[in-house]
Symmetry: C2
Subunit: 295 residues, 2 copies
């Protein structure tokens, strides 16, 4: 007891240090979770970064967080010269016709998992990729286009291996005796068959000329928007794809494709002509009123 | 000292409780940050949901997480009848020309903040919105199209109020004396001027007929992809927009627009013709080789 009473102040100090450490740690956890937990992070006024509301040309916020905690004074864009902009303007009838035509085209789009091995002109693919970022000028992404058969096959092996783990882990007992039946779920032969695999890497941060890191805010939203335009561009030339987000394969595929550490795999899109016997699930579309409200 | 020694066990117990509480709390923080931090979450095998890798028709994973912790046996899509699919196929020369034409069109796209108040035919807007989800059939989103001037003005007030807070909080001392100069940063008169405001709400979960909730996996990626197609559709008819993600305004705008609790505001897009004197920053585009790698 005497020993204890002597140790009391020591004990108190040690425990205070432990608590202090944990407080700091829990705060760090919150802070580091902010970049991916955008919405949640944004709610906390204390952690709000200096960002403009606008996704500059739909790609990123170029605010620069300096290491001393100071925010950059101004928005990169504000320093740029503004130039007049007058895009093509169509008569109302033409607008209406164009809006109908694109709707008709895009309404035929479906995700396809059955590809023809036929080659597709490389120049078409280049133009499609070129189209995706469009108005964007400081793109926080890299599109890796793979046509080399060996690399495609290595990608397939990585994806299938992880997919098998995913399925086995989640199957539970009721499925474990019937592997053959669900094996089709993780076999992705289209990764060999499709003439191109497009792997979209988002850059979570960029490197400035002075070697400092620049956070790419909203990089996931930006890259996904770009992929939407990519899907439109593929449909426009009669090619098909299926957007997939391979679980847990990102790091392995990043290393295989020699992408730097600031890039993360967001999507993998096999691209090609559909197989002549391709099928798609017989979905029924939602009517417009279910997805649109007019006020 | 005697009092202290008597209190030592009590003190120890209290401190242990505090530490225990903080450990739990810090663990909760990590767990709750997982849903938004998809990539991070996906790395932890324990938290992997039962999802197919593919974003079904680019919109969502329809896996159903039942409340008892069991995962649904099968994938909704697998139960659907498959039907043959053969989209239009073009000769190579036509493909090449179409890919160039769309690139040329989309390459002219820029984010515009200066709108003309001229009305835009409602039917064109409907067709544009209809185009956005395209191949998708169980869309986890709602597009709210606002043309009512009062509602537009209320939206502007909410956005500007939050934006002013955002700027003031981040300005620090060096700016605080020069409010007038940066006021332009939070004044968004285009929210009154543009004939339409399109507010894109993502549904973080859906409600099944049996009133159970169904998680919409990848809802942010899916909605962003859809917005990419929306941008293409707007450019296709000669309209302009700027994609913005209003910070901290989501809950107020959701209530104003009477959207249900499972919807979160992801983007706000003013839509209209550009003002005759519209300008855009004089960006230089990155060359294709900077954003594309061929393997």
């Amino acid at each position: 007891m005497a020993l204890l009473s002597v140790l009391t102040p020591v004990l108190a100090v040690v425990l205070c240090l432990v608590i202090g450490f944990m407080l700091v740690r829990s705060r760090e956890t919150e802070t580091t979770s902010t970049p991916s937990g955008k919405t949640e992070g944004a709610k906390k006024a204390d952690f709000r970064p200096w960002v403009d509301q606008d996704l500059q040309d739909d790609t990123e916020i170029t605010a620069e967080e300096e290491e001393d905690g100071d925010w950059a004074d101004s928005h990169e864009e504000e320093d740029l010269l503004h130039v007049p902009y007058s895009p093509p303007r169509y008569p109302e009838e033409t607008m209406l016709q164009r809006s109908k035509d694109l709707y008709t085209l895009m309404n035929q789009r479906r995700s396809v998992r059955f590809f023809s091995p036929e080659p597709v002109p490389r120049e078409v693919i280049d133009n499609v990729i070129r189209t995706a970022p469009s108005g964007a000028h400081t793109e926080p992404w890299t599109f890796v286009v793979v046509s080399d058969p060996d690399t495609k096959h290595q990608i397939r092996q990585i994806v299938e291996e992880e997919e098998e783990v995913n399925y086995r882990q989640r199957m539970g007992d009721k499925w474990v005796n019937d592997l053959a039946k669900i094996k089709t779920n993780w076999i992705k032969d289209y990764l060999d068959v499709a003439p191109y695999l497009v792997l979209v890497f988002k850059q979570t941060y960029g490197i400035l000329p002075n070697d400092k890191k620049r956070t790419h805010y909203y990089n996931e939203i930006s890259v996904s928007i770009s992929c939407g335009i990519l899907l439109a561009a593929l449909q426009n030339v009669g090619l098909v794809t299926v957007t997939s987000t391979p679980l847990n394969c990102g790091p392995q595929l990043r290393i295989l494709l020699k992408r730097p550490a600031n890039e993360k795999l967001l999507m993998l899109l096999p691209v090609g002509y559909p197989a002549s016997d391709a099928t798609v699930p017989d979905f029924k579309r939602k009517p417009l009123d279910d997805v649109m409200v007019h006020i």
